[in-house]
């Protein structure tokens, strides 16, 4: 009892290839949980199954005790799981403000019935306040497409926050960022949890970020879980080091 997200025996096959094989773990409320693994380990597939883009071939995903395996991505979002993308996804021809406002409207008035029923229900978040939180105050009235890559990624996090999620799934939040932006991203992820109470599950390549922000880390290799522990234990784990051997990862 008490797991926010529980993944049990999750398997995903593509034809003859088993991308994710019998993965089990649980994310506790208020935790920052990382998933790492060498290239092709199945991290992204695992992420996409949890986010509702792929159906699991076997096993199940439960959120707050409800089985959400095989639910569509929008059903999962409405349960309180938002996500960010590895590549930038924003509405480029609108301002940051309009992007944030839209995200809230889309989330609250998600289908034609909810559109009219939730017309008068108060907004779940204030665009200006969220822009301030993620550090977009100065870019608030600029077109999203004109923003630097790093700012567009921040806007993506802001848009996910507009729907007031309980769990935020982050697909490589550090990808494409420069070193100082990576540090800022790490701070922001911690603040999401500390100041907003949002539980975070992230998939990441960037070792300093993962080791720096995560409370616990799941390591997968060839689709199978090989370790699940705190960063300091993971850093010293012989099987993990072996899985990464020959790759240029530094466990900073």
């Amino acid at each position: 009892m008490g797991h926010l997200l529980e993944v049990r025996g999750l398997t995903r096959r593509f034809g003859g290839l088993t991308a994710v094989s019998d993965v089990s773990f649980a994310v506790e409320p208020g935790e920052i949980f990382g998933i790492i693994g060498p290239n092709g380990a199945g991290k992204t597939t695992l992420f996409n199954v949890i986010a509702g883009h792929y159906r699991p071939s076997a096993g199940k995903v439960a959120f707050e005790g409800h089985d959400i395996s095989g639910h569509s991505s929008d059903e999962i979002a409405r349960r309180g799981i938002a996500r960010t993308f590895q590549a930038v996804h924003v509405f480029t021809e609108h301002t940051a403000k309009e992007n944030l406002r839209r995200a809230e409207v889309i989330g609250r008035r998600h289908n034609p019935i909810a559109y009219f029923a939730h017309r008068k229900r108060a907004a779940t978040a204030d665009p200006r306040e969220i822009a301030g939180f993620v550090g977009l105050t100065e870019a608030f009235d600029l077109y999203a497409g004109s923003l630097a890559y790093g700012l567009q990624k921040l806007l993506g996090i802001g848009m996910a926050m507009m729907v007031a999620p309980k769990l935020l799934l982050m697909d490589e939040p550090a990808a494409g960022l420069n070193p100082s932006e990576k540090k800022a991203a790490a701070v922001l992820i911690r603040r999401l949890r500390d100041e907003r109470g949002i539980t975070v599950l992230l998939v990441e390549h960037d070792m300093p970020l993962v080791m720096g922000v995560c409370d616990r880390i799941l390591v997968i290799n060839q689709g199978k879980p090989i370790a699940l522990d705190t960063p300091s234990v993971i850093k010293a784990d012989a099987t993990v080091i072996e899985a990464y051997l020959g790759e240029d990862y530094e466990f900073a």
């Binding site: 986010a51 569509s72 991505s73 929008d74 979002a77 409405r78 938002a82 996500r83 993308f85 996804h89 924003v90 509405f91 480029t92 021809e93 839209r102 995200a103 409207v105 889309i106 989330g107 008035r109 998600h110 289908n111 034609p112 019935i113 559109y115 600029l142 077109y143 999203a144 497409g145 004109s146 848009m159 996910a160 507009m162 729907v163």
Partner: protein, 306 residues
Amino acid sequence: MKPILVFVVIAALALLPWALDTRYVFHIATMIAIMIPLALSMNLMLKLGQLSIAHPAFMGIGAYGTALLTMRLGCPPVLALLSGALFATVIAGIFGPVFLRIKGVYFVLLTYAFGEIINLIFQEWTGLFGGNSGLYGVPKFSIFGLRLTAVQDYYVLALIFVVASYAAMRAIERSDIGAMFESLNEDEMLSRSIGANALSWRIAAFSFSAFVAGISGGIYAFYIGFLSPDPFGFRLSVDLVVMNAIGGVSSVLGPLLGAILVVPLPEILRGAHEYQLLIYGVCLIVFLLFMRQGLVSLIQPRRKPA
């Protein structure tokens, strides 16, 4: 050009038939007024990124439904008109959940097949629809004891529906529903990741646009008084695509302008009927090459990201 000026010009055009005062001009104006809501209904689906070839079929369902309800069941015309359109809406609501899971070219093909099947039913079920020889003797429209007989009366009726459907489509475009449609069209994955139920919005748009097409069909049935399957075929789909392409998809003003330009073409080209498709083709190519956003881009320049 200022939008207000455009509306003054359109209003003047709408009044032009009274100035010229010939049956022929009123007929063409009435046909334009019947086609504008249809072009608008296709535009609503295009806003969601889906090209529906099925809307002439929904117009046909509205037309035959309205005609048969008044002829066979003696339904009051207003009730028949609404019921015919609701019938089109229900059909869209039944097929929508299946069709709208499919996107791109396959959606176009599916709606094409649907339109052809509906048209075949009109042709082959001669007992009910009269087949290719047609359905004669649709009674005249009447409301509050007022019986519409002259072409002018039907022009006014069609104009009223133009104003109503335009106002509704414009309201949708300006509201957050418009923002929702644009978002789903631009980045469906992002929209769904924050909870948008994409399929439900597509079904709603498909059903509502079928209703609008159905009312247009009903007005057409009362006006012409005779129905055959031919006007509701693929040819009309092509016309509607051309109207949207020439007028512009980004604003509801686009299909309105497109209909005003395209509907009179066959009449203008009467002496050179065989060249009509050729002229369509050339117009389309010119617009696609030099004016992607259509005529509306001359009036409302599409804002560019700063």
